[in-house]
């Protein structure tokens, strides 16, 4: 029996009244002008809300009540590193000396900003073991793409741009890896994972030749396991003149304990919104800093923040640069947050990050081993990959367990990634969770696994404690409605007069198949 916590939320467009406004705008004190004489034809209609400020604030407050965040509860999401986002970071990022600066104001007027960029670069160099850092990429996928661009430029500079057509990517990799490779004009060849959960060296050898531009490897892998052959793999790639990129999504397992630059990698990307606590914001801003070795340095995006004697400068004189990958310097106010975070740890405490992250993940794995076994039985790093395969015979998929966790007050873990583990649950507690929280979470999962056997329907119907139950994602595609319209008409898909049924049906079938196998 479902009980709703709050009344059904209305759209902002269904609230308000003509003539209302929700803020106290700057009063214009310059002379009036004939607007149409100055700018030409103006628009006749603009269907934006007309609500008062209090009305508008209540609207968002109610929306926040039906949204889960780290401060609501635990996020065991593998590969997302949903750690606590320190509030002090919000204070420092709001300092007007940072927030009220324009990216195109003269360099000489923003020495403080250059200091921030430079210091973050220097700290990240040391943490990652690379020779150079660029902070210009604005998200993880963007950082991956930028690294691939560096590799492309490197090969082109050696006259091998045309020859080296392929990027090798493990079948366990995050989808952004092949997507980023495609964005750089590369074709992808897949390599396998062996029974122990490591890169299958035989499958690597099979595809490795001088047409390969590089390998993208996540270390620790998306299975949460450290690649013991990493130095050997890097050497294999280097021996054929190819490069190796480290997907740094799992850097949380390594901070202060080991450095990808020492493993043999040529470049890596970092997710500052994972490892370095900048807030995830519901899907961004991300922050995709990259690290690279000297031989890739000529190709860095411009401008490069570096020291010229004692002064910090923005260096644009870089003839081999790949150019710009984003408008300005990257996610500057996120760099301020990351810098604040790093300085709160310092050299004395920074290794605590990886040590406690790894401890917490192993603890969860150990507590759950009787109900959700590991996909690969060995110590995990900062995340563990467990399988719910044994409950298939009860008609239960990993998705059902995840949805039932919501009723116990937890955000689900990562489902169905990596693709190579059936019915997988990838759990990354992070270092900022107390033992009590981990115990509550494990107790909940243990109870749910018992329910899976004794009362599977309770899982099938879950969740029943939220404002909505499971949503019809097939219908979302079939009856595509991605905006409100004044008359109430929805925007049909594909521009077909019958509302896009033709194309939508095919998409609907695919979506249904996907929805039934994914979360």
């Amino acid at each position: 029996m479902r009980t709703k916590k709050v009344a059904e939320p209305k759209l902002i467009f269904e609230k308000g009244r003509s003539g209302r406004i929700g803020c106290n705008l700057p009063v214009c004190d310059t002379p009036e002008v004939d607007i149409n004489a100055v700018v030409g034809e103006t628009r006749e209609q603009l269907f934006l809300p007309e609500v008062g400020e209090l009305e508008m604030l209540r609207h968002f407050t109610h929306l926040s009540h039906v949204n889960y965040g780290i401060e609501t509860g635990f996020y065991p999401l593998g590969s997302c590193t949903m750690k606590y986002n320190p509030k002090i970071n919000e204070r420092t990022a709001a300092l007007p000396g940072f927030a009220a600066t324009h990216p195109m104001q003269p360099e000489s007027t923003v020495p403080g900003n250059l200091e921030i960029l430079y210091r973050v670069q220097e700290i990240l160099k040391e943490v990652t073991g690379f020779d150079d850092i660029s902070l210009q990429p604005v998200a993880g996928a963007h950082g991956e793409m930028t690294c691939l661009m560096l590799m492309k430029a490197y090969h082109e500079s050696r006259g091998e741009g045309e020859k080296r057509k392929y990027i090798l990517i493990p079948d366990s990799a995050h989808g952004t890896n092949p997507a980023s490779a495609a964005r750089c004009g590369y074709q992808v060849k897949s390599i396998g994972t062996d029974a122990a959960g490591n890169t299958d060296l035989a499958s690597l050898e099979k595809v490795l030749d001088e047409e390969v531009a590089g390998l993208m490897l996540t270390n620790p892998s998306t299975l949460g396991l450290f690649e013991p052959n990493i130095e050997k793999i890097c050497k294999m790639l280097h021996d054929v003149g190819a490069l190796v990129f480290c997907d740094g999504a799992n850097m949380n397992a390594m901070v202060g304990t080991t450095r990808p630059g020492d493993h043999g990698f040529d470049c890596m990307h970092l997710n500052l919104h994972k490892t370095f606590s900048t807030p995830h914001g519901g899907g961004g801003p991300g922050c995709g800093a990259i690290g690279l070795k000297k031989h890739l340095e000529p190709f860095l995006p411009v401008p490069v923040v570096r020291k010229d004697g004692e002064k910090l400068i923005l260096d644009y004189r870089r003839p081999q640069s790949i150019g710009r990958v984003s408008s300005f310097f990257g996610q500057f106010l996120m760099e301020v947050r990351a810098y604040t975070y790093l300085m709160a740890y310092g050299k004395e405490r920074i290794a605590d990050i990886s040590r406690h992250a790894v401890l917490n993940a192993n603890y969860v794995q150990a507590r759950l081993k009787d109900v959700l076994p590991q996909a690969h039985p060995r110590p995990c790093m900062h995340e563990c990959v467990l399988t719910a395969q044994q409950y298939k015979k009860n008609g239960i998929r990993a998705l059902d367990i995840s949805k039932r966790l919501i009723d116990y007050g937890f955000h689900p873990p990562t489902n169905y990634f990596p693709l190579i583990v059936p019915e997988c649950l990838m759990i990354e507690p992070t270092e900022t969770e107390a033992k009590e929280t981990l115990d509550e979470f494990c107790d909940a999962l243990i109870a749910i696994c018992r329910e899976a056997v004794e009362d599977p329907d309770v899982l099938h119907n879950a969740p029943t404690t939220q404002i909505v139950g499971r949503l019809d994602e097939t219908a979302a595609v079939k009856n595509l409605d991605v905006r409100w319209r004044p008359s109430g008409d929805v925007v049909a898909a594909a521009g077909d007069p019958d509302g896009g049924r033709g194309l939508a049906v095919a998409e609907g079938i695919e979506s249904e198949r996907m929805a039934s196998t994914r979360g």
């Binding site: 209302r20 929700g22 401060e71 000396g97 989808g175 980023s180 499971r470």
Partner: protein, 430 residues
């Protein structure tokens, strides 16, 4: 905890890492600071800058000093929004998902388009993605972009196009507007113009549209969202895709990041668009709800065949823009745009009286180019002494405009500030 795991030390848990790859001792980074000292340290660094609360800003060039209502920070600092994960679990994310649906609606409405996505990184990468989309649709490899589009955006476009093997052809300008459409031919995938353009000029979008149509190319507009609250939006000129920078919609200038990429288009392209998109549906009890939809375009499902590699975007900034657009609403956006026009016209009058010359003849919205009898860099330096950021010297970007400066005047500028700028300019030019 170690007992439960069956290990004696945390070090044991790292045994898969070869000994030679383990960090020995401490990393060579600064010592930690307690919170009080940390805040003091960051404050001190911030005070080394000339911030634009103390210095009056007449610099635009894509990032604008607009007034951000207090309600924006109040909403986006709520932990439920600030620290939320991507809404892959819609049952726990209806708050965000509904706000994105509202965002999509308002962006599409401002631009006069059918649909908009949940955000991109910034205006520049949004434009690059639109160009790549046009290549996917038309199968052609030439991207025609006006020289009056923001130079940084064109640099990003150059990088993206090099990366995927497309060619960029720049359309030259005259008198501050796109003039030469040679090269917009059967090999062109798209024509890209900016509205208002980088110089502040309001170009006639019908001209670029007709050239694009004649060549069978797509018509892409990079548009300022506030300007579109007043001017005829690009959708009314039959634009195929409209992209832009959403920073003026309630986001701090922040030295250029984080920003907010806007992406809107005709509904026929919905399955090709990059980025996330939220749709409305129902749950199995018939209650309305929102989900991320058309997911088969995205990287986690389609991998190398995805419409883009974008995953994380600018959701929190989109939320800031949502709050801004709802706080201002229909009346406020129009008001801000009209104030911008009034202030800009007044500034043109006063600065030309002070000795500057208006460089281009076209209609302008909130920005214009002045020609100065002295080196604009010197003028800018001199005016900084008076806490005025005079504008952007254009020499580094357009060699034919090395005597010129790009000046922006938003609704936050007052008559007194504009008078002061003119007075100080007159002094400097004497």
């Amino acid at each position: 905890m170690l007992a439960t795991i069956g290990a004696k030390t945390i070090d044991e848990l790292f045994r898969d890492i070869p000994e030679n790859l383990r960090v020995k001792g401490q990393l060579n980074i600064p010592s930690f600071l307690d919170e009080a000292r940390l805040y003091g340290h960051l404050s001190e660094l911030s005070r080394r800058n000339a911030n634009l609360v103390k210095t009056v800003c007449f610099l635009g060039a894509g990032i604008y000093d607009r007034y951000v209502p207090a309600s924006v920070a109040a909403v986006i600092s709520r932990g439920e929004f600030l620290t939320a994960y991507t809404p892959y679990q819609p049952e726990l994310s209806q708050g965000y998902l509904q706000s994105i649906y509202e965002f999509q609606t308002m962006v599409a409405e401002l631009y006069g388009m059918d649909i908009a996505n949940a955000s991109m990184y910034d205006g520049a990468t949004s434009m690059a993605e639109a160009a790549i989309l046009s290549h996917g649709v038309k199968g052609r490899t030439k991207i025609c972009v006006s020289g009056a589009v923001h130079p940084h955006y064109r640099q990003v476009l150059d990088t993206y196009c090099w990366s995927v093997g497309l060619d960029v052809h720049t359309l030259s300008t005259e008198d501050g507007a796109t003039a030469n459409f040679d090269g917009v031919d059967q090999e062109a995938a798209c024509v890209v113009v900016q509205y208002p353009n980088f110089f502040g000029t309001i170009e006639d979008l019908g001209i670029a549209r007709d050239k694009a149509r004649a060549a069978g190319a797509m018509f892409i507009v990079v548009a300022d969202p506030i300007a579109c609250g007043l001017l005829k939006p690009p959708g009314e000129f039959d634009a195929d895709i409209v992209v832009g920078e959403g920073q003026p919609l309630g986001i701090a200038m922040g030295f250029g990041g984080p920003l907010l990429g806007l992406f809107a288009c005709k509904k026929e392209f919905v399955r090709r668009i990059p980025g996330r998109i939220v749709g409305r549906t129902t749950d199995h009890d018939g209650n309305p709800g929102y989900v991320m939809t058309l997911r088969t375009r995205e990287q986690d499902i389609k991998r190398e065949k995805a419409t883009s590699n974008i995953c994380t975007n600018e959701a929190l900034m989109a939320l800031a823009a949502t709050v801004y657009m709802e706080a201002l609403g229909k009346n406020g956006i129009r008001s801000v745009a009209e104030s911008t026009v009034r202030n800009t016209q007044y500034a043109i009058k006063k600065l030309t009286e002070a000795g500057a010359k208006l460089r281009f003849a076209g209609k302008v919205f909130g920005e214009f180019v002045i020609e100065l009898p002295k080196d604009p860099l010197e003028v800018q330096t001199a005016l900084l002494e008076h806490h005025i950021l005079a504008g952007l010297p254009l020499g580094p970007y357009y060699s034919e405009l090395k005597n010129c400066m790009l000046v922006a005047v938003t609704e936050t500028r007052t008559k007194e500030q504009i008078n002061d700028y003119a007075a100080k300019l007159a002094e400097v030019l004497r």
